[in-house]
């Protein structure tokens, strides 16, 4: 699957062949850093001065790289496809290789960053449990009522929450049985077929 680069995008990336490969590597590093932590416009000005170029041109160059990285990582295109997509820009082989390396080295991380944008539910983080026996209450003395107290830790985009819950022994066994059924589903032929064939 080839990446289709818009004319504007090609124009922005057009700045890259005009500078040293060392500078391009540096831009690549900055692009990844911006993806990780957000952009910092001051860097553009500093770089622009050093290269005696327009700050806006530098910004477009870096942004072009960022977009190239995110699009290729999102689609998870193969090496060959990446090289073919970049060929259309008419860069030197050296530059092409540099871009390819940048992509391959960082695509997993970029995909991880992108996946934080997707809608998601809180996900399971940890479960703490405790066995208690209720021996008396205001309404009834002399009881023997076993209960299981649990603290369910969930995480939602970095925000952790913990919920204290309780259940009785019969329900606990039922929960275990239901969840084991859920796990067994993954091993069925139907699921295996889907997991194998959709890649």
């Amino acid at each position: 699957m080839l990446l289709v680069l818009s004319d504007e995008h090609k124009e922005h990336l057009g700045f890259l062949p005009e500078v040293d490969s060392v500078v391009v590597s540096e831009f690549g590093r900055i692009a990844v850093e911006f993806l990780r932590r957000g952009t910092n416009p001051k860097i553009y000005e500093g770089a622009a001065r050093k290269l005696s170029a327009d700050a806006e041109t530098v910004q477009h160059g870096v942004e072009g790289l960022m977009y190239l990285l995110t699009e290729s990582s999102k689609l998870m295109i193969s090496e060959v496809d990446f090289q073919d997509s970049v060929l259309v820009l008419g860069f030197t082989d050296e530059l092409n290789q540099l871009l390819l390396q940048l992509y391959l080295e960082h695509r997993k991380e970029v995909r991880h960053i992108l996946s934080e944008l997707t809608p998601s539910l809180p996900h399971y983080h940890n479960l703490e449990w405790r066995l208690d026996v209720q021996v008396a209450s205001r309404a009834l003395r002399q009881q023997v009522k076993p209960t299981v107290s649990m603290k369910l830790h969930l995480e939602d985009r970095g925000e952790k929450s913990a919920k204290v819950l309780q259940t009785d022994p019969a329900t606990l066994i039922h929960l275990i049985q239901e969840l084991e059924k859920a796990l067994a589903e993954l091993k069925t032929t139907h699921c295996r077929r889907i997991l194998r064939n959709i890649k």
Partner: protein, 199 residues
């Protein structure tokens, strides 16, 4: 058993053969137990034919005294000697004490169950539902190709009359299954429950 003066007076009236003959007494005691155990408050509970000739205020007072005494007895897990001595102090003859105690035996465990369900507790898990999905792609990342579980715990707040809500969270296969995660931990809890019951 500590009973208030009003309750004691009511019971003393119940003991009086001039006010209640043995048959009427037995019916009232049975009615008192039943009204505690039945799920709905029934305003016609005292409309028995045996009660027609009795002053309504007295009837209500005695019914009230009887139910209070019953609840106190069940709450304290009172045995035969405690109940007998309490009633004898209130001028119950042996026959009436026996009637009371035999009906008490009949309804005792139902009343205990009822009382033990009254009280505050953390949200109580009643059930679990699950869904297995295979994530193919989303708006930000394509070719995700991962199975994922969506778990819903049906949780009831506070008492029986409390609202129930669903706690949703997602979970990978590893988080559900591998030792030290959700199902594994629940099984640990169940195992130690089993050990505790054998102590």
């Amino acid at each position: 058993m500590e009973l208030s003066e009003s309750v004691q007076k009511g019971l003393q009236s119940l003991a009086d053969p001039m006010l209640f003959d043995l048959k009427t007494f037995s019916v009232l005691i049975e009615v008192a137990f039943q009204s505690l155990v039945s799920a709905h408050a029934d305003s016609s509970v005292l409309d028995q034919p045996e009660f027609k000739r009795i002053d309504q205020m007295l009837l209500k007072h005695c019914h009230n005294a009887a139910t209070t005494c019953i609840l106190e007895g069940v709450k304290q897990n009172a045995d035969k000697s405690t109940i007998s001595s309490c009633l004898e102090d209130l001028r119950f003859d042996a026959e009436r004490t026996d009637v009371f105690y035999s009906i008490y035996q009949k309804y005792r465990s139902d009343l205990e169950t009822l009382l033990s369900s009254i009280g505050r507790c953390p949200p109580h898990i009643n059930d679990v539902s699950w869904r297995l999905e295979y994530r193919i792609k989303n708006g930000h990342v394509h070719k995700v190709n991962e199975p994922s579980y969506l778990i819903s715990l049906n949780v009831e707040n506070a008492n029986n009359g409390g609202s129930s809500e669903d706690l949703h969270f997602s979970c990978t296969m590893e988080q559900l299954q591998v030792h030290n995660d959700l199902v594994g931990k629940m099984k640990d809890a169940a195992k130690s429950l089993e050990k505790a019951t054998q102590l």
